[in-house]
Symmetry: C2
Subunit: 310 residues, 2 copies
Amino acid sequence: MKHVSEISMIAGDKPYASRTGDETLIQKRQDPVVFVEENSDTSADQDVALTSEQLESYRKNGFLMLDNVFTEEEISPLRRELNQMRTDPLLRRRPESFNYVDDELHSVFGVHKLNPLFGNVAKDTRLTSIARQILADDIYIHQSRLCYKPGFTSEKFFWHSDFETWHVEDGMPRMRALSISIALTESHEHNGPLMMIPGSHEFYIRCNGDTPKDHYKQALKQQEHGLPDTAVLSTLMYEGGIQSACGKPGSIVIMDCNTLHGNNGNITPDPRANLFVAYNAWSNQLETPNCEREPRPEYVAARKPGSPLA
Amino acid sequence: MKHVSEISMIAGDKPYASRTGDETLIQKRQDPVVFVEENSDTSADQDVALTSEQLESYRKNGFLMLDNVFTEEEISPLRRELNQMRTDPLLRRRPESFNYVDDELHSVFGVHKLNPLFGNVAKDTRLTSIARQILADDIYIHQSRLCYKPGFTSEKFFWHSDFETWHVEDGMPRMRALSISIALTESHEHNGPLMMIPGSHEFYIRCNGDTPKDHYKQALKQQEHGLPDTAVLSTLMYEGGIQSACGKPGSIVIMDCNTLHGNNGNITPDPRANLFVAYNAWSNQLETPNCEREPRPEYVAARKPGSPLA
């Protein structure tokens, strides 16, 4: 097994090119993980922002898990709302709704616009202050998604970097974005929790292959393009290991846009549900996609963010 | 969620009937878990047999995990042998070999007869003395199987009781059998370890449906008949929880024939391999299958065991 330092590193004027049909390659990240604001003034957020120890852990691992950010009193109405949405025929017919093969609800994109309860969470200052602190810029919501993994039947989802897709398919220029996942149910070791590779955010993996037309319609349920090479993945996992995001409802996972993650199937009775919100730096707005495809829909990747989040 | 005590229990002259097309039902086990020998004389095995605390734990949970039963010096030749078998064209063409869709080796049945190295392990007194002590009878090998779950690609396997299949498809009369699984690689929380439901062995679940012709050819890779109802499974898991069998190479899991178990997929780089040996009490030999099908092949279910293990 090679060490990461032995893997051929490349760079160039297009450091984040991928799916260009070439061999898989790995290179160092070309952007900071924790940004420092020019004319720094974070005093307004000091009550809720991360400590320097938390920031350092995030910078080192590419993620940070926090318990009890939302209370059970805040989360239980969201769970009820999700259960209503699962059987709402109007919602289920919308293009933002993705289904499993058996017609169970898989995910709802743009849920912060479709539903005021989830919209309020996505804009909650406990989350936005963290995103602003790490990205050191004004921010907007690049993507929101209500995710539901039923008990007994859920399938695994292979390792991937969100940024690889956001760069190639959405034209996000740089690694200056992050996601926050809010647990609506308990995640434990057996019900297919989010798994992350600590330290993997420091590397960018050029993937083989290309991007099929309307890739997102399938890829958001089961990705098959833009997947890292297994030899590279093995190296990163032997260096960094695997961390599961286990936590109670109301816990959150803050994850850098380039941290490699995936999850396993779920044969337990316990479904897993979470609200996923991707925040992008205002200065990092989408450009032309880096593939020969039309941009993905606005509800998957915001190209017209309006104004920054308050 | 109902408690197990609230679930309708049935019994009758065919207590272990299943796949009779009826509704799913749950009933109490009709056999001991740890048997007591008439004219007991276990002095010959006292060096290697289980302590009374270990026996009690097995009786209560339906399984027992033991570390360091085999040394790394004993296990590494078995791992090398497995890797040779994966690319042995003669072996791979035998009916005992089952493959994954991508042609990777899935499992080898009757491996204790096909390969002397694995045969020696299956007959090792560290294992046979345990089986004899718990079953309190002479024993023979009902089934042996070398199992290989590759890294990155393995799929999940749903909850099931081995006895349900052995009773219905093989005609095993009573719950007087157990399996011992010997780890050839490390099992950890992330690479799809065996998961068991503690206490589930005390109940028998009649499953819906029937048994298709040559069911075993598919079922041994991905079972779709003889699967317990999810409501019953939920009840048993909320009562007993889930226990993963994590352990180093050389560790073993002793499991009652009726303990509900399954496993998750594996997207880590770490393959999972084990030798599975099912021991049956000599007095519990196979009869006519309890379904309208021909008996399964001898290498899947021994009908002519010859003489008891020494």
